[in-house]
C-alpha cells in the first residue's frame, strides 16, 4: 500500500502516435462511414449540376406551344396558315382544356380566328377583301407568353402575305464561360463548401459535446490546438475531393473549363472553407443540442443560397440590399470563383472577395475559440 506507484511498462503504440494524425484519421473514418453524409457532399451537388445543366442546356430551342379551340369554325384556317412554320407546335384542344393548359404553362398562347373584316379594322382592309381578324390569348406576365404573341403574329402576318423589307443575319454562338452551366458550377462548388464546412465541423462538435466525448477529451493531455487542427485537416482532405469531383464532372459532362489558374481556385476554396468553418466554430462553441445547432446552420445556409447568387445572379435583387449581399461570405466565394473559373482572372483581381472571406473567418474563429465549452 505505501509503496511508491509504478506505472505499468510503457510500450510502443499501435497506430499513429501523433495525436493530430490520430484525430484527423478518426474524423475521416467517421465521415466516410456515414453514407448519408457522403451523398450530401458528393452525390447531391453532382445531381444538381446534372439536373440544372440539362434543364438550361443550349440546343434545340423549345417551340412555342400554340393551342387552337376544337370545333371553332376558324380553327381549320389558322391550322392551315401556321402549319409547318418553324418554331411553332400547334395543338387542337377543347376550350376548357386550353384554358387549363394555358394556366399550367404547357400551352403559351391560344389563337382564335374570328373571320374577315368582321370588326372595326375592316374598313381599312386592302384589295377589297376583308382583313383577317385573329384573337390571341396569353399571359403577358410570362416571358413565353409575350414571345409567343410576337411569334404567332409574325407567322400569321407572313402567311397572309406581309413582305419582309430588311435582310436579317444572325450569329448566336455563346462564348466559353458564358453558358448557364459555366455560371452554375462555381456556385455549386461554393455552396457545397459552405454545407460541408458548417455541418462537418459544427455538427461534429455539438454531437461530441452532447455525447460527453468533448469532456472526455478535455481530461486527456491532448493539445487543444490538435483538436481544432484535426477538423481543418480532415475538411481539407474532403475539400480537395469535393472540388475535384465537381470540376471534373463539369469538364467531362458539360465541357466547363477553368479559364484561370487551378491553383487560384484551390486557394479560394481553402480560404472560403476556413471562412465557413469560422461560422461553424461560433455555432458549435456552446450548445449541446443538435437541433439548436441544425437550426442555426440552416439559418446561415438557406438565405445565402438565395441571396448570394448560387443559382441566378444576385443583381436582380434591389439596390438597397446589395451591400448586405456583397458582405456575405458565400457571395464573396461565388464571385471569386466565377472570376477565376469563368473570366480567367487572378487572385489580385479577387482581393476584395478574399478580404471578406478572411474577415468572416477571423471573426468567427475568434468568437468560437473564446466562447468554446468542453462540457
Amino acid at each position: 500500500m505505501a509503496e511508491p506507484t509504478k506505472p505499468p511498462p510503457a510500450q510502443a503504440a499501435r497506430g499513429p502516435k501523433s495525436p493530430l494524425l490520430a484525430l484527423t484519421l478518426a474524423r475521416i473514418r467517421i465521415f466516410v462511414r456515414e453514407p448519408a453524409a457522403l451523398f450530401w457532399v458528393f452525390g447531391f451537388p453532382v445531381l444538381l449540376a446534372v439536373g440544372l445543366g440539362i434543364a438550361f442546356r443550349e440546343g434545340p430551342v423549345e417551340p412555342v406551344h400554340v393551342g387552337l379551340p376544337a370545333g371553332d369554325p376558324g380553327t381549320a384556317e389558322v391550322q392551315r396558315l401556321l402549319d409547318g412554320k418553324e418554331g411553332l407546335a400547334v395543338e387542337v384542344l377543347a376550350a376548357d382544356a386550353l384554358e387549363e393548359r394555358l394556366a399550367k404553362g404547357t400551352i403559351d398562347i391560344i389563337v382564335r380566328y374570328r373571320g374577315e373584316g368582321a370588326e372595326k379594322g375592316a374598313a381599312a382592309a386592302p384589295e377589297g377583301a376583308g382583313a383577317a381578324v385573329v384573337d390571341l390569348r396569353f399571359d403577358p406576365a410570362r416571358d413565353e407568353g409575350r414571345f409567343a404573341r410576337r411569334a404567332v403574329d409574325d407567322a400569321l402576318q407572313r402567311a397572309l402575305g406581309r413582305e419582309d423589307v430588311a435582310t436579317i443575319t444572325e450569329h448566336t454562338e455563346i462564348p466559353r464561360g458564358r453558358r448557364y452551366i459555366d455560371f452554375l458550377l462555381p456556385g455549386l462548388i461554393a455552396m457545397n463548401l459552405l454545407g460541408s464546412s458548417l455541418w462537418g465541423v459544427g455538427y461534429a462538435i455539438v454531437q461530441e459535446r452532447r455525447g460527453k466525448l468533448l469532456r472526455r477529451f478535455a481530461v486527456t493531455p491532448m493539445r487543444r490546438s490538435d483538436f481544432l487542427l484535426s477538423f481543418l485537416l480532415s475538411r481539407f482532405v474532403f475539400l480537395f475531393a469535393e472540388v475535384v469531383a465537381l470540376l471534373g464532372f463539369g469538364a467531362l459532362a458539360f465541357d466547363v473549363t477553368v479559364m484561370g489558374s487551378v491553383v487560384d481556385v484551390g486557394i479560394l476554396c481553402v480560404v472560403g472553407a476556413l471562412s465557413f468553418m469560422g461560422i461553424a466554430a461560433v455555432i458549435g462553441a456552446r450548445t449541446d443540442s443538435v437541433e439548436v445547432a441544425s437550426g442555426f446552420m440552416n439559418l446561415a445556409t438557406l438565405p445565402m443560397w438565395i441571396l448570394s447568387g448560387t443559382f441566378f445572379s444576385y443583381e436582380r435583387f434591389p439596390e438597397a440590399v446589395q451591400p448586405i449581399i456583397q458582405a456575405l461570405p458565400l457571395t464573396a466565394l461565388n464571385d471569386g470563383l466565377r472570376a477565376v473559373v469563368n473570366d480567367g482572372r487572378g487572385l489580385i483581381d479577387v482581393l476584395p472577395q478574399l478580404a471578406v472571406l478572411v474577415a468572416w473567418g477571423v471573426v468567427g474563429f475568434a468568437i468560437g475559440l473564446k466562447t468554446f465549452r468542453w462540457r
Partner: protein, 314 residues
Amino acid sequence: MAEFDFDNAPAVRCTALEKRYPDVLAVAGIDLEVRAGECLAVLGPNGAGKTTTVEMIEGLTAPSAGRIEVFGRPWGQGARSDRAIRGVIGVQLQETHFQEKLTIDETLAMFHSFFPVGQSADDVLAMVALEGKRAARVGKLSGGQKQRLALACALIGAPRLLCLDEPTTGLDPQSRRQLWEVVEAFQARGGTVLLTTHYMEEAARLADRVAIMDHGKVIAEDTPDALVASLGADQVIELELEGAPPVGLDALPGVRAVRPHGDAIRLSVGDVARVMPGLLAHLEAVGAPLQNLSTHRATLEDVFVEKTGRALRE
C-alpha cells in the same frame, strides 16, 4: 514550479476545496487526501457533490476556492504543467458516448496517441476482456461492453491515478464484478484509485478507505471497518409495525439509536439477543402489532443512515 513527487506525496490532496455555482454551493470547502497506492471511495447520494469533487481533481471543473495537488503538483501552473497532470490520470466519466462509427481498436489508438506513455492495446483489451471485439464498431456494443471500453480508454495511458465516476451504474452483476477485478488488478500493480459510487457493496469490496459526502461536505472518512465500528453497534434490527411508531424504543436497554427507514424502523444495537425480550415486551405493552422483523450486521449503509439521516439512494 512544483514537479511530481511520486515517492512521498499523496496521489491527491485537496485543501479547503470549494465549488460555488450561481444557485448552489456544490462543494462546501473540503479537505480530502487520496494516498498513493490506495483505493478511496467517495460515497454519497445524488447531488452530494461527489462528481463535482472528482471533476475538479481531474481538472475538468475549475474550483471556486481551494487548492488541489496531484502527486504534489498543483493544478493551474500553466498549460504545460496541467497537461503533464492529465498525463498521469486515467479517467472514466459518467456515460461517455464514444464515436459509434469507430472500432474499439481505432478508439483506443486515438486515446493512446494523446498520452506521452502508454500500455499496449493488447494488454488493456485483455484486462477488460474485449480482445475478441477489437474490430467491432462502438455502435454495436452492449452497455457493459461500452463501459469496459471506457475503462480501457482510462487505462491506455498507463496512468498512476485512476478516477472512476460511478463506473458500474446500470451494469448487470456480472459486468460489475468484471470491472471490480480490473480495478483490483490495477491497484495490485501499484496504481491509485479514486472512485465515486452509491453502491455500498462496491465501496466495501474495493475501497481501502471511504469518504462519505453529503450536501457538499465530507462528513466521515475512514476505513470501512472503522466506520462501521464507529456506530458502536454491530447489529441492526429492522421492524415493520402496524400504525404509528411507538414512543420509548430508544429508552430500551441495549438500543443505541432509532431511525426511520422507509416504512420501517431501524434499531442499532450491540447484541440482538439481549435487546429482543425487552423490545417484544415493550411492543406488546404499547399495543403495536409486529408485521415483520429482521436483523443484519451493521454495514456502510447503516453508517450512512446514521450520519445523514437518509438512505443512500433516496
